[in-house]
Amino acid sequence: MDSAWLIPAFPFAGFLINGLWGRRLSKKRVGTVACGAMALAFLTALRLFWLLLQQAPDRRIWEPVYYTWIAVGEFSVRASFLLDPLSMVMVLVVTGVGLLIHIYSTGYMHDDPGYARYFAYLNLFACAMLLLVLAGNLLVLFVGWEGVGLCSYLLIGFWYEKRSASDAGKKAFIVNRIGDFGFLLAIFLTFWTFGTLQFSEIFQAAVQRFQPGDMVLTGITLLLFVGAVGKSAQLPLYVWLPDAMEGPTPVSALIHAATMVTAGVYMVARCSVLYALAPLSMGVVAAVGCATAVFAATIGLVQNDIKRVLAYSTVSQLGYMFLGCGVGAYVAGIFHLMTHAFFKALLFLGAGSVIHALGGEQDIRRMGGLRRWLPVTFWTFLAGSLAIAGIFPFAGFFSKDEILFETLMTGHGLLYTLALGGAALTAFYMFRLVFRTFFGESRMDPETAHHVHEAPGAMAVPLTILAVLSLVGGWVQVPILEDGKRFARFLSPVFESARGILAGTSEHGTHPSLWVEGALMGLSVMVALAGIGVAYRWYVADPQRPEKVAARFSRAYRWLLHKYYVDELYQAVVVEPLKRLAETVHEWVDRAVIDGAVDGAGALFRRAGAVLRRIQTGLVQHYALSVLAGVCLLILAALAV
């Protein structure tokens, strides 16, 4: 456990090597260094995982402390880690999926001139992300939090010469900053409430000192959630994530699907004790999550950019995770996080493979029939789609279904209905994507079609591995079966106290019969299949149908196509007024009033001088005369006294 610091240290070393000397190394070396660093981190994580499993379940928590980072008076923050089952799951996901995406990138980015820079950023991201998930206190978590934000900024704007790319990077960073604003205030409030930022101490004190529903804890959790909303792209701060697709596709897979965007979910799960004590915040989390899940899914229905569809799907899936956390099903939330990491990374990498094959084309209207040219990509992509749609026995089925089930069981009927509708939408838009891309007639222009080629090995192998994981990843948590919920058992020590609190406040713990559970599962699968069926009818059986529907509901279609005009709204309501305000203030307050006052004072003296200078005649005798007159006045004064 002392070697925990090695996990982020390896990628950091990779970052330094590639960042400082990458331009002078050959591409092969750069790739080896980057992937090697990730591989070493993954191996270290595996070893720690093994060590963790050796311990008794209630002793699976280590808190290595390295040094005192900031200490002022009673405020003291140590650079410390927290290793428990929750962070272990995250570390394994980050290093494992990260390693696969690194390998994929060696193929995908092979011809890019910024090869070394790319891998340096990617390693730095891995380092920051690992810092985030391993953090032993809120401030170290915040370091990772901002670090991943920075890397996201750098990688979205990786092709900085493209205006839209650098715009998107900037937007991502600033929107995240708005979330961080809440996070920072949450840290302050936490410190002045508990006198510490160390997770273990906070949670202990929270359980001992606070009753459920306490105002302070509600404040802390809501502020933390503001941070999570920013980082995990929930309503109303989701706007940066679709734009973030300007980055290279593996980046979208790693950062904007599998790892970074799930940081908010992780943080909420990490602070489960605090949330459990603040029912209001839980409600907000669940509501925001559910609303985002449906909202993003509707936008995803009509988008034509393959990556944007996936991006909205990510936003939507993150909503499901928050829904899970919000109803107290932390295990389900984290479980979905893990399976989502597998299948969404797979889908992005598959999309990347398609884009790579088509020489940069991202519009599904100019694809079609690619099944023939890209078999590996097709089959793996299909696996991912089935997983996200929630078809048994793929991973997504287990995790999404658990969230839905828990939602209903905790008495959130409305949220359940919405989420179920969202699941149908998910299945529809994913298979719309599959059918438009891989089925039907080819709509490529001949030049592109001529160059289509299947992904090279470096890309195909990660795709295959992830496809397998998307299939089997859910099997660690099988409902109904005896001994099926291994994942939950592994994580349970982490959420024990939160569950305890929740059990005390609500009707948790009432378990329905297996029949009900089975029936609900069936319903989920039915809904998903319905979504797929509609997609098949519209896009394979009757290709003219979508246009008719679009024409029929043209207004709704336009709203969806333009993403409800949210970006335009923000631009018009926030960005532009602020800019105009700044200009007005600069012109009127700074220039006219303040500087005017300063210059005015100067001008006043200058004008007074212009008048008074006439006294200075240059004739010494006048001066002598005034001296004499002065003396006479003094004499007069003396006489008067």
Partner: protein, 100 residues
């Protein structure tokens, strides 16, 4: 023995004439001479007080005043010469470089 205030009166008159000269004349040399008059007025009262107070320090002062006056005259006249060389006049009306 002539009383002290007679001498003081003479001294005062001399000083008044000197001040008037400085104020009313425009010829730098005459202004200079008027300054000398003022210095001499001061000298006279020094010596008169010296006799009245029976203290020779007063005369000592006069001695020093004379030395300073001599030095001043030489420097002052040299300045006037230079002025005349540059401006072709020594009328202070004409030389008003200090005008603000």
């Amino acid at each position: 023995m002539v009383p002290l205030h007679y001498y003081l009166l003479v001294s005062a008159l001399l000083f008044a004439i000197g001040v008037t000269g400085v104020l009313v004349r425009r010829n730098a040399i005459v202004i200079f001479m008027s300054i000398e008059l003022m210095l001499n007025a001061a000298n006279l009262s020094f010596v008169a007080f010296s006799r009245e107070l029976q203290d020779l320090s007063g005369q000592l002062f006069v001695f020093f005043v004379m030395v300073v006056a001599a030095a001043e005259v030489t420097v002052g006249l040299a300045i006037i010469v230079t002025l005349h060389r540059n401006w072709k006049t020594i009328h202070v009306d004409a030389i008003r470089m200090l005008k603000g």
